[in-house]
């Protein structure tokens, strides 16, 4: 029987329509702590904690905060969820709840249960270390190692955040007998092979890659989902229901990770949080783009495969991966092929991926260029969508640009390489004069449009400014 364990109690999934998200499922069960604020994963009012395999790949379970509005309830078959109600109750507050309540961290209170869950997950993060013990210390990290990025996907319209920050930084560490903390010592629940049928749609979590590829081969219209951070928005905001929805996020073949001298191979269904943790800084450009990719709540669900699969021209991964000359591995029932990412995109949300193919891996060749950077232009530094994004990978030898790879997002119908700019740089000395000339070329790349995020003029200007900024910051 399909069920989700919520706050320690199994809840039956029978009869739940496949499009029903975890948020609505919880609320229908009478757990109204999680709230709908936007239904598109932007506000965090619906955040809950789920027990997941640790992001660093170790055995232990890890409490991971996600937006419950984006995930179909079916996706959590067999999984364990903790909501604000499960963390504590009046008279027995959880430390996160205690600090938030006492410090004025809630005003209207509507966003608060979501904050509680995002903060709870960070409270239980296994590698959270006090600043004195090697943890980072900056404006976004408390002396207790609490990383404010953990709540970058939670919006509060009342407090102005200061008391929430103070509450976060006042937290201690879980005591040894903390039941929710102790859950981390055992393995996370395994993924269940699931099939949930409704009137309009069917949600399937295949047991193997072979089964997934078979289903994909049978139904060209099937929707492939991993973290559902894109599909969930379509379901909630655009009323899309899908016919066959195939969940691939827990397939082992899509969750591999390896680093050799020659390449980094990243499973397409690893979450961005998992990739960041496992890379541990070995691809600074990828770490930089992940740090600016959505919010922690999104990164805990979103995958590279999804970001490339949806093929959005404003996805944050492609500009960086294009600069790194990444390849994608596409698998079908007939076998697999490896394709340079530069040959993957063909138009607005279009690619050379056939309907029966699945992205299984992203491969970045090593060694990586010496000068890499990721520039993202947006209205808001946390959790915003790019107006323009630029990924750089430059090889400088004796002050000369030997090789330049530049990926662009937000300036054309699809992510593109800035080929003319690359040509304007290669073979030339890395000097202000070269950069001036390249800046003019870069500003003319693509065909930017004006929309609610930015004007075309600003987008072009930002392209031109980007390389000047790179030069200024790389030239002390």
């Amino acid at each position: 029987m399909a069920e989700i364990v919520v706050n320690g109690r199994p809840r039956d999934l029978t009869g739940v329509p496949p499009h029903t998200n975890v948020l609505d499922f919880l609320r229908a069960a009478g757990l109204t702590g999680a709230k709908e604020g936007c239904a598109e994963g932007e506000c965090g009012a619906c955040a809950v904690m789920v027990a997941r395999p640790a992001a660093d790949g170790s055995e232990a379970a890890e409490w991971t905060a996600i937006n419950s509005c984006l995930v179909p309830a079916a996706a959590l078959d067999g999984q364990e969820v903790v909501t604000a109600e499960g963390l504590g109750a009046p008279g027995a507050l959880h430390p996160v709840q205690q600090e938030l309540a006492a410090r004025g961290g809630s005003q209207c209170g509507y966003c608060t249960p979501g904050f509680v869950c995002s903060m709870g997950a960070e409270y239980y993060r296994a590698d959270r270390a006090p600043a004195g013990d090697g943890g980072p210390r900056d404006q976004y990290h408390g002396a207790n190692g609490f990383d404010l990025h953990a709540i970058s996907g939670n919006l509060c319209r009342c407090t102005g955040y200061r008391p929430i920050k103070d509450a976060a930084f006042a937290l201690g560490f879980p005591p040894a007998d903390d039941v929710i903390g102790l859950r981390r010592t055992a393995a996370a629940p395994a993924a269940m092979a699931t099939e949930l049928r409704g009137d309009e749609a069917t949600y399937v979590r295949p047991a193997s890659l072979a089964e997934a590829l078979y289903l994909l081969g049978e139904d060209a219209g099937a929707v492939v989902v991993a973290g559902s951070t894109d599909w969930g928005v379509d379901v909630n905001l655009r009323g899309r229901r899908g016919g066959l929805v195939i969940a691939v996020d827990r397939l082992p073949e899509l969750r591999g990770f390896s680093v050799t001298d020659a390449e980094v191979r990243m499973g397409a269904a690893l979450t961005l949080t998992e990739i960041d943790r496992r890379l541990a800084g070995r691809l600074p450009l990828v770490s930089a783009l992940i740090a600016q990719f959505g919010s922690r709540l999104i990164r805990n669900s979103a995958t590279l495969g999804g970001n490339l699969g949806t093929g959005s021209p404003i996805g944050d991964a492609p500009p960086g991966l294009l600069a790194l000359e990444a390849s994608v591995v596409l698998a079908s029932a007939e076998g697999s092929r490896t394709l340079p990412l530069a040959d993957y995109f063909t138009g607005y949300r279009e690619s050379t991926r056939r309907p029966d193919e699945l992205i299984t891996e992203v491969v970045v060749p090593r060694p990586v260029s010496g000068l890499t950077a990721f520039h993202k232009i947006a209205k808001r530094p946390f959790d915003d969508i790019s107006s323009v994004a630029v990924g750089y990978a430059l090889d400088l030898v004796d002050g000369v640009v030997r090789r330049a790879r530049i990926g662009l997002g937000g300036v054309a119908a699809m992510p593109i390489r800035a080929l003319a700019t690359e040509a304007a740089l290669e073979g030339r000395p890395w000097t202000a004069e070269t950069v001036d000339a390249a800046s003019a070329v870069l500003a003319a790349e693509g065909t930017p449009i004006s929309d609610q995020r930015a004007s075309a003029a600003y987008r072009s200007a930002m392209l031109g400014q980007s390389i000047r900024k790179l030069f200024a910051e790389a030239t002390p």
């Binding site: 709908e36 598109e40 006492a102 004025g104 249960p113 102005g160 400014q465 200024a472």
Partner: protein, 766 residues
Amino acid sequence: MTTIARPVGTPLSRRPDDPVVGTPLPHESAVLHVTGQALYTDDLVGRTSNVLHAHPVQAPHAHATITGLDVAAAYDVPGVVRVLTDADVPGTNDAGVKHDEPLFPTEVMYHGHAICWVLGESLEAARQGAAAVRATYAELPALLTVEEAIAAASFQGARPTLARGDSAAGMGRAARVFEGVTSFAGQEHFYLETHCSLALVDENGQVFVQSSTQHPTETQEIVAHVLSVPSHAVTVQCLRMGGGFGGKEMQPHGLAAVAALGATLTGRPVRVRLTRAQDMTMTGKRHGFHAAWTAGFDADGLFTALEATLTSDGGWSLDLSEPVLSRAMCHVDNAYWIPDITVHGRIARTHKTSQTAFRGFGGPQGMLVIEDIIGRCAPALGIDPAELRRRNFYAEGQATPYGQPVRHPGRLLAAWEQVAGTSSLAARRAEIDRWNGRERHRKRGIAITPVKFGISFNLTAFNQAGALVHVYKDGSVLVTHGGTEMGQGLHTKMLQVAATALRVPLERVRLAPTRTDKVPNTSATAASASADLNGGAVKDACEQILGRLEPIRDQLRDPSWEELVAAAYRERVQLWAAGFYKTEGLSWDAAAMSGHPFKYFAYGAAVSEVEVDGFTGAYTTRRVDIVHDVGDSLSPLVDLGQIEGGFVQGAGWLTLEDLRWDVSDGPGRGRLTTQAASTYKLPSFSELPEQFHVALLDEAHEDGVVYGSKAVGEPPLMLALSVREALRDACAAFGPAGHSVELASPATPEAVYWALCAARAAGRAS
């Protein structure tokens, strides 16, 4: 000769020893908030059986006549129970108090206008039913921007003029006269809880509506007139709201009426809950304004005169646009003495959502105009903007342009000097100038701005409130008052007021949800005045009860509260009371735009420092210091939260939040293009100032207000003007001395980038 220490203040403002007011307490619902136990209107749906869900049919044109509406296909969708159209309205087909907002329109007045509503067994069924409705339209020309409306002379409502002296003569006295236009955008409320109503009908036809409303009485009245029943047949309750900010003052009424109409017609509970996109495309926002101005300064930089025409973007109907405009005009002076002044006001009618109340209610718009004038003129006058502001402050004995004496101007100066001191403004100014001299690609800016904000509703009649205080036989106390709780901490303060007035521990007092059958004829929870008004009413009720208890107390020897109450009951003393309060001394002539509309002014001053990236225009707020006047705080933790939260919300309006409509001539003309959290960005953690210091002004006791306190909800929002002025200062640092920076509002990174480019260009030109 000895001086006898007299108690401070009036009977209303004086505090007893050891008052519960003044204690820093968390929000009264904080424990419920953090545990997910606090209930909001939509949380009641799961506790109500047999609920029908409503979904609107939204028109896809900004302006059109509805030429056909065929709802038959909706009934073919399984689960659709009823489609509500204008033919179903038994009473007045209107959702407002100005009778210009048909609940079911025949003419579409904005993109997304709801033309009918579908009720379904599930939200999914209602949504699909709404999609099946066939409507046809004859498109009409649409006005989208204020500029378009001005060109077409499309205005609505009153066109007031506020004048004092002879502004033409004042201009004649000026050493320098400047002209300009200041246009700026509105703001989406983005309360985290979207609008929600849940209506039930009982066996007698009594309608009970639970609604996320800041104005339960008006919601009750609108529901009653739509249903054609008397007000006593409708009860409205609000448990709490997930934020309001003015957006739930007028806008809930029509939605509650749809729920009530549906419940009346079907006999079943009906839930109307807007999705975020529906909320953003259907409900009103802060008014954007267009201001054309001429300002005169004498040789010392003192204002001689101001002439301005303020045109607000009212959207399709009047709503609260007239009082918002009045307040804007009454705050165009902000903290400054302007001897000769003429301000014209008018409200553009455009084909957009009907813009409405939003925290500050026109005050922010008025102040933005004068601060923009000062920020732009200061470089030309060769006077540091901080000094120019300070020089023009009101002095004791001076009056506002509408004739109200400015009381306690010294408190504004005290706040200003205190924050200048604690922020080390002068030293940091010098340090920033040195830093800017060294850095080519980044510049910092710093600015100090004042706030003077009038407290009370301009319309005198609204300045009244009621409360109902029950003392039960066991000594426990239940307080009901007319105000609603939306996170601002009103209920917390009212608990503190009741505990103080009755001299009982806080734990003995409980607060009941706001409902119209407990306290009738309430004013909106708005204008920051709810603690003043409802606090006065709660205190009055408590004192009535205490007065009745005094003879009993005299008969007993030092009784405990419980003993006193029990004895009083035995003596047949009434242990409950209805309290009432009205603000004394107010007057307002709306036609002449003159009088004494405000009980007092709330003051504050803020210093903000920003750093701007010259490559992109991106910026960070490095530090903010605030000294704000809340009188003697009723609840310091609550007040601190209001100041910080108001400031960040104001900074969001001025820098980040960017409402965009499709103003092209394409098929999407009039569509709100920022109708989601993914496109409309609020301040998040990344906008929290790196350092944020807030202090309450000392020695700020306010006579004639409950326990010496002052209102706090709105005034701090306008302290965020300091961020905008700091950005202007940083942009100026990219250009030559004396360059006047024109900065769009909101000052998004893109706007800042263009402003600093203009400054650089001025440098190259000079």
